[in-house]
Symmetry: C2
Subunit: 582 residues, 2 copies
Amino acid sequence: MDQERLEHIRHSAAHMLAAAVLELYPRTKLGIGPTVENGFYYDFLFPQGTTVSEEDLASIETVMKKIISGHHDFVGRSVTAVEAESEEADQPFKLELIKEFAGEGKNLTIYESGPFKDLCRGGHVDNTSEIPADGLKLHRVAGAYWRGSEKNPMLTRIYGLLFATKEELDSYLEKLEEAKKRDHRKLGAELDLFTFSDLVGAGLALWTPKGTLLRNTLDDFVWQLRKERGYEKVTIPHITKKDLYETSGHWDKFKDDLFKITTREGHEFAMKPMNCPHHTQIFNHVSRSYRDLPQRYAETTMCYRDEQTGELHGLSRVRGFTQDDAHVFCRESQVKEEMFKIWDIIEAFYKAVGFNDLRVRLSLHDPAQFEKYLGTKEVWENTEKQLREMVAERGVEAFEALGEAAMYGPKIDFMAKDSIGREWQVATIQIDRNQPERFDLVCVNEQGEKERVVMVHAAIMGSIERFLSILIEHHAGAFPVWVSPVQVLLAPVSSKHVGGARALLNELTEAGIRTGIDEADETIGNKVRKAAGQKIPYIVVVGDKELGGEPWMIRVRGQKDQVKMTKEEFIEKVRNEIAGKI
Amino acid sequence: MDQERLEHIRHSAAHMLAAAVLELYPRTKLGIGPTVENGFYYDFLFPQGTTVSEEDLASIETVMKKIISGHHDFVGRSVTAVEAESEEADQPFKLELIKEFAGEGKNLTIYESGPFKDLCRGGHVDNTSEIPADGLKLHRVAGAYWRGSEKNPMLTRIYGLLFATKEELDSYLEKLEEAKKRDHRKLGAELDLFTFSDLVGAGLALWTPKGTLLRNTLDDFVWQLRKERGYEKVTIPHITKKDLYETSGHWDKFKDDLFKITTREGHEFAMKPMNCPHHTQIFNHVSRSYRDLPQRYAETTMCYRDEQTGELHGLSRVRGFTQDDAHVFCRESQVKEEMFKIWDIIEAFYKAVGFNDLRVRLSLHDPAQFEKYLGTKEVWENTEKQLREMVAERGVEAFEALGEAAMYGPKIDFMAKDSIGREWQVATIQIDRNQPERFDLVCVNEQGEKERVVMVHAAIMGSIERFLSILIEHHAGAFPVWVSPVQVLLAPVSSKHVGGARALLNELTEAGIRTGIDEADETIGNKVRKAAGQKIPYIVVVGDKELGGEPWMIRVRGQKDQVKMTKEEFIEKVRNEIAGKI
């Protein structure tokens, strides 16, 4: 089915939803009812005292399908503003729209379909029989301010899914169900990785010991890859005088997104929303010779943005996030080699965490909105040309996206597809010739002259919080062995095996394997179930046999049959998996 | 000489300073002139257009000594407020004091000594001849607001040193000179450890690669000691809703010292000045069984305090500082063992960084100012008793200090004496029974009942910034080998030895030795001088002999004679020093 027809079907269904709601709750006031991805919604102000929740959706859907089955034609007619106002006299939100549209000189139309009529500019099927009722499902209720402004009344938004066939609907629902099971907020609590506190506030994650181990394991690997390539760690504070951002240009373009502080002495400070301006101050605190370049600074550090409460979501959208950030200060002649080094790091890292094929996006400036960017057209075009050449030399296919560049330069972005088919932007490499101008960053070259340097920005995980939301959902919490906070769980059969199990714990820990022990006074069945729920890769039941030197029976995550192995073979196997990052 | 007599001498000298100033700058207005450690000061408002700086001190000192040599008696007499006002009619600051003292019903006295008289409550020598003029030196000028308030005029404060003998003065001046050479601000720049930026702001250090390596080396060692004792890392954001600090009690007692943020939505946030309240939220996010205790959380993280610009000083007093913080949540029965574990960590750490004998201070509450603290008298007294018992059991001598406790509980503080005799408070262990009450922190005990837990706070370095200011000055930048950012410097004799030196660099790096190479086109003499200035422990000149397999001649920091050693012996020696933390 073509997209336009699907739009018409979904739009028509929105009318039917309003019709059903009016039949069940006659004094309801109507907002608007557009189509959205996979379906449509309609906003309602229910009569005072009436609350509609997801439990009511089944009965609304039944009435809706009954109306659809009435085979009503959609009939439109032009009306004057006065006529429209008279027909919609008991619908205050419609009256507001009529006034506005009339003021803009728009033509007004009213569409009728059986028992229902609505102010609408059209785009329907001819007859309700064309709506595939078995591809329809009302599935969600949310609050939404009238016209998106918190100054207006809060309406109830009912979302419907609508596909051309029942098969498509079922397949979509299955995917939703799978995504729900994998929801990182749910798994984060079940695996005890992070939490939020009402006292600390929304969008500010607190990381438990297990979650911190997970973060640090990933970050240590990024650092290992960077260290091998000549990076050095630096350390900066989380605040700055606003002067830094006035120089960098961020104050002008991003002021509203900053957490701002007025000190007791009346100075204006801000929390850092990114690290590049601070890092320029380390580069620039002494004079640099061309011999000192590249300077490669890496720092995993938290950044802060004043996000609106309604936009926060688990770890995906937060107020405080951790960047595994790096900035290379180098000469023009060194840019390509540095970019390719970063590219190698990105490929090695994403392979190790289970994303094999990254799509590459060339994120360019939007020529139609050049005022959003810093610097000259010429620098932008040259830099973008250079990026295209690098992508070609690297021999990868890239797609171009206008308007996705950073404020100070174009980017190469990497997109990862997760195990349920969703694509996420993850790592990024950015060339920046604007900050070096603004901060006057130079080296002294072979001729004793000042030479402008180039900055290359690179984040591997980007925001660790957002990356973990993706990684948790990709693996449904069953991380690769090297990433798992607990790699092996020892479950002593009874209290008399606890001593032996503790000795094994020490032995495995010494061998570099993160090992846990469940000493609770419970059945083995319970211990195994709990450990499986924690998605621990290997479970070893420790009883007389295991302590007596006989081969172990290993319970392997995701495998039905246990695997027989000597202790030495098992330790060797797990060590190899950790070292091989699998 | 007893302390009281020294006080009288110093106080008398302050009068002489004022006398000399009035002789040189007749229309000067006088503030106050008390004694301080090692001497005295006097505050002056010089006539408009007159600036007095350190260059003028010699001539003031000459006049001062001339007046002292006049053998004037100090003669005091009681005066009424009216008399005093008439005598001090041209001294506005004195008039302000007269009014205030009279209002408080105090007796007023005026002391005369030769050409000078001053409103003063006494405490002088009988005759100026008793002032040991060769133990006197004016040495410093600073700005100071009248009565310490920035609403008042800024006065010029002249500091004088005064000792009983010339020998004592000289010895003190020598110590000052030594401290100046060791000044961490000077060494921090010379060794390229940290910097400050005008754009970022005062009190916010930026750490270079070398400085970050130094910080991380120390912090990694603290973590190693903690990990061996069952600590786990956690991660928290740097901000919070103010609700957290209202619950903890910090909002009430420390509000003025917080960096406060009002979000775009109008919520009140604060930057964290400490970590304990956040850590309670990790402990408290799930129900804890007694089996889960102790929970030992460690985190090295930055904290922020809104310090006044005038109080900032290098790394000693900053706006952003890094705490190597830890909190143990345990049962009453576990407190002592946990405290002793921390004590072990502190002893191991301070020995390894070159502080062998720590003095132990029991920091108790001040009964006269009980309103400064949280909690009940009974809890305080019991906790302090418990601390005394632990100190006794540990078999160390401790001294007690009233009023040095934390807001929430008493502390055991550790004091380190540096190589020029100054004593600094460094590590701390604190028992806290108040935060567990305020945040309702419990575990479920063997009987299935809720049991209040105890928090033990512990910082090993405390503020890493402040600790480094002490460590840099203690070692004058010549850190123990294991701490040094660069442990061995290779200096190739000429360009034809660079290749061989690079191979050695890799070999030493592989062996876990932090090695640098100086490839500059300079003489060996220059390279050795630069490396010595960088306080690098070992310098190896790499020429034909060294590359030809002959024994090396090692230049050892602080030793005149070079040491002959094979490459293998040298690597072994340095590795042992690193592993042995010396």
